[in-house]
Amino acid sequence: MLDELIESGKSPLLNIYFTAGFPTLDSIGEIMRGLERANVDIVEIGIPYSDPLSDGPTIQNSHAAAIKNGITIDLIFEHLSHCSSRIPRIIMGYFNSIFVYGIERFCKKCHENAIGGVIFPDLPIEIYQEKYRTLFEKYNIAPIFLITPQTSEKRIRYIDSCSSTFIYAVSSSSTTGKGKNVQLAHDYLSRLRDMELKNPIMVGFNISSKSDFDFVTHYASGGIIGSAFIRHITDSTSIEEDTIKFIESVKTGRL
């Protein structure tokens, strides 16, 4: 499903990140239904971890709350197996979670649950290529790597050559939801655009509104929203409806 979407060349693509098991243990299904009804293009399911190094307070707190709610990797897959949603799915997780769970076991489960791609922010491409690539290829799961404004052109080209779906461009040097102004990233994003990479680019971190989304998709194929969405559903009592409202606000600029 992810492959087909990328091959279709559709743009701009809206990718929404949510933390599995937050705000409630059973909310995965409601969020997925809301995202489907609102025609989101890609959903990124976050595996909660006790020490999410790349994340700012919003996502950190959602991880801590989800763990407290009792979420586990097995439960995430169980919930996903009951979701009929056809939106292409990717998983974002810290490497320790997957390593301890068992990498092949994880790949199998991803395969069974229509997960097309994985993002492990703390697994460097070199270690992935050397130790884990064969396993992920066996199960047809695409790795999605991050690049940042500090990543050299040579390294970006190397990452492009190892990727098969899209490249995740971190908008600025920051943790997630830091509130840095994404609209200052003109130089960086135009440099990426001009490189004419083989894979499309999705921009993430510090995107929270229609104007941010429009700005980044002027340069790239899509945008990824996480912290802003998490904040929106934190205290929600009707998660599916609030999910739809949030997506509409990103699409229309009205909340």
Binding site: A64, N96, F99, V100, Q150
Partner: protein, 389 residues
């Protein structure tokens, strides 16, 4: 080929180590990796560091023959007096080394994590000396239990950030320092205080601390039979073992903090209870659940209250080159009181774990046992006097 117990070209010690950093830190880590060996081997750098270690830190620290302790244990016990270093612990050896390195990398701002506050004080001291901006991350819980060190850091001009996420101790202080570095990747150097974190930190910190074993080697006219050191992340232990790793005759003993007991759920004995995983960007042993969530550790000693351990220790443990034991809160407290009365030396609660291990050993009359007295106990007076009542 025999394992030399040191890091390989890919940054691993056997199965352990590596640099599991997010791409946001790739550039910083690469910059360090490309430059640290060259810089610290440079003759001018070495002269500058060695001069500071002599004139400012007070090295070499004595290797003191502890007569009354030796009499009690019916053997020969030497205390490596790292507690006599300026700022009161071995941490300054590394802080000065790294700050000289940071200057050569043209960094203007320093960040560090601290548990007991010893590394924070050492870093704040080095920053004052070198006129660098200093920001120290410290868990809210540790700020309460190590108040004297917090006051010292403030006097030295450091900015202290209280960390209230997660366990509110060293683990989360380290997370926050790493996040700071992600957000400030160009002007900032992160001085990690132990032999943990992504490659090249474990190797770099080990090299700066290896002066401890280098001095022990010179101070004894023949090698000791045993060296005992406490292990949290493990920097004082690696420092005390470093130059004896190849000398298989010397028995090396690392002592973890087992808190309320190694089988209890209030422990920090990572090698005894942990499983393999990634913590703070290196593959090592970690106290964690079956689902890979890091467990909040417990030790009476803030400096050992850490759910991971340096990757080199995990490797040395796997190869059985070093024996690792553990000591409870209670045993450590008793040892701290015992040394105070026997030798007139008040040890840090961290170092008291190493001292307490003497009770678990069968020692011969002719043995020559070195205990690394990594720090002094002034910071622990509150705990030491409270627990005595």
């Amino acid at each position: 080929m025999r394992d030399n117990y040191q890091v390989n070209d890919s940054g691993f010690y056997g199965d352990f180590g590596g640099a599991f950093v997010p791409e946001m830190l790739y550039h910083n880590i690469q910059e360090l990796k490309d430059n640290y060996s060259r810089i610290i081997c440079d003759a001018t750098f070495q002269r500058e560091l060695s001069n500071l270690l002599q004139q400012y830190v007070g090295r070499p620290t004595p290797l003191y023959f502890a007569g009354r302790l030796s009499h009690y244990y019916k053997t020969n016990i030497y205390l490596k007096r790292e507690d006599l270093c300026h700022t009161g612990a071995h941490k300054i050896n590394n802080a000065l080394g790294q700050i000289l390195l940071a200057k050569r990398l043209n960094k203007s701002r320093i960040i560090a994590e601290t548990g007991a506050g010893q590394h924070g004080v050492a870093t704040a001291t080095a920053c004052a000396l070198m006129n660098m901006t200093c920001c120290i991350y410290m868990g809210e819980k540790d700020i309460q239990r190590q108040a004297p060190n917090v006051a010292r850091m403030k006097l030295l001009g450091a900015h202290i950030v209280s960390v209230s996420s997660g366990s509110k101790t060293l683990k989360d202080a380290t997370n926050e320092a790493i996040r700071d570095w992600i957000n400030n990747p160009t002007d900032t150097h992160y001085i990690i205080g132990s032999v943990v974190g992504p490659h090249p930190y474990p190797d770099m910190v080990a090299k700066f601390q290896s002066i401890i074993s280098l001095e022990i080697k010179k101070q004894l006219n023949r090698p000791p039979t045993h060296i005992i050191a406490c292990v949290g992340g493990g920097s004082n232990a690696i420092g005390a073992f470093y130059h004896f790793l190849q000398d298989e005759e010397v028995m090396l003993i690392g002592v973890e903090a087992s808190g309320e007991g190694v089988s209890s759920n209030k422990t920090a004995a990572t090698l005894a209870r942990g499983t393999q995983g990634v913590l703070h960007a290196c593959m090592t042993k970690v106290l964690q659940t079956a689902d890979g969530q890091v467990i909040e550790p417990h030790s009476i000693s803030a400096g050992l209250d850490y759910p991971g351990i340096g990757p080199q220790h995990a490797h040395l443990h796997q190869l059985k080159r070093v024996d690792y034991g553990h000591i409870t809160d209670k045993e450590a407290l008793e040892a701290a009181h015992f040394l105070s009365r026997k030798e007139g030396i008040i040890p840090a609660l961290e170092s008291a774990h190493a001292l307490a291990y003497l009770n678990k050993m069968k020692l011969q009359r002719t043995d020559r046992v070195v205990v690394n007295l990594s720090g002094r106990g002034d910071k622990d007076l509150d705990t030491l006097t409270k627990e005595n009542k």
